[in-house]
């Protein structure tokens, strides 16, 4: 991968993909570009990494995929399902809780 992210980033690709697909349907390459754009390239996913996540989310019913011919190629577009919206809400809640906890820990005096 071009640049790797720390191990604690596990679960972040899923959250980002669901969040982006909440707006509109997109295909893999488009999603990677969008992630780079919305995160200001702070999060750099290996470009191939998103496909296992997308397939997994589709398999578990959070996403649905459809083939669409575009410019001589057949793209696989992903969109969010009702179940996916629920999963996104859960992940956002988890993320905010963790973020709040870490911020509190960082702001509090050290416990050496």
């Amino acid at each position: 991968m071009a640049k790797s992210n720390p191990p604690f980033m596990s679960g972040v690709p899923e959250l980002l993909l669901l969040r982006l697909l909440d707006n509109r349907e997109m295909y893999g390459y488009e999603l990677v570009r969008a992630i780079k754009e919305v995160t200001g390239e702070a999060i750099s996913l290996g470009e191939g990494v998103i496909y296992p996540v997308l397939h997994s989310l589709e398999r578990t019913g959070s996403l649905k995929a459809r083939r669409k011919p575009v410019g001589g190629r057949t793209r696989v577009y992903y969109s969010l399902t009702r179940q996916g919206r629920g999963r996104l809400a859960d992940l956002q809640e988890d993320w905010r809780r963790i973020q709040g906890g870490i911020e509190t820990a960082l702001e509090s005096p050290g416990h050496a």
Binding site: G28, G48, V49, P52, R73
Partner: protein, 141 residues
């Protein structure tokens, strides 16, 4: 840097037990992604050879992708997800199916079997008639 070998990727995914539907679609998506990366670089004025190298690097190592796919149990075939059950179910299914194979073959080739049976019957009757004539000629000859 070598360009990605998409055929080898498909083979590796299938070997790891990834369901063919997911394996083949992943390879097609990765191939399209690679082409998009190359096209974007070429549009930026980068020579094609360099564009391909950059696309290969950005796409990442195929082994990493295989590892990511393999780590997701839900993408694997039934037999890879439940190997112990498969060990029991597959032989039982074979035992159930094997006796049906000759019956099915017979039904599928019914006209041929009918002709074969009729020929055998005719040959048997002819042979019996010849033996009867021989026997009678010995007795009354």
């Amino acid at each position: 840097m070598r360009e990605p070998d998409f055929n080898a990727l498909a083979e590796r995914l299938l070997q790891c037990g990834i369901a063919p539907r997911h394996a083949h679609r992943t390879v097609n998506e990765i191939r399209d992604h690679y082409d998009d990366l190359v096209d974007a670089a070429v549009d930026d004025g980068i020579p094609i050879r360099r564009a391909r190298q950059m696309a290969t690097r950005e796409l990442g190592r195929m082994e990493d992708l295989v590892a990511q796919m393999s780590a997701r149990r839900e993408l694997k075939t039934w037999a890879f997800r439940f190997p112990r059950a498969a060990i029991v179910v597959y032989p039982l299914a074979c035992l159930a199916v094997l006796p049906a194979v000759p019956v099915n073959a017979g039904i599928a080739n019914a006209p041929l079997l009918a002709r074969w049976g009729a020929s055998l019957l005719a040959a048997g009757v002819l042979t019996a008639a010849l033996l009867l004539v021989l026997q009678l000629s010995i007795l009354f000859g």
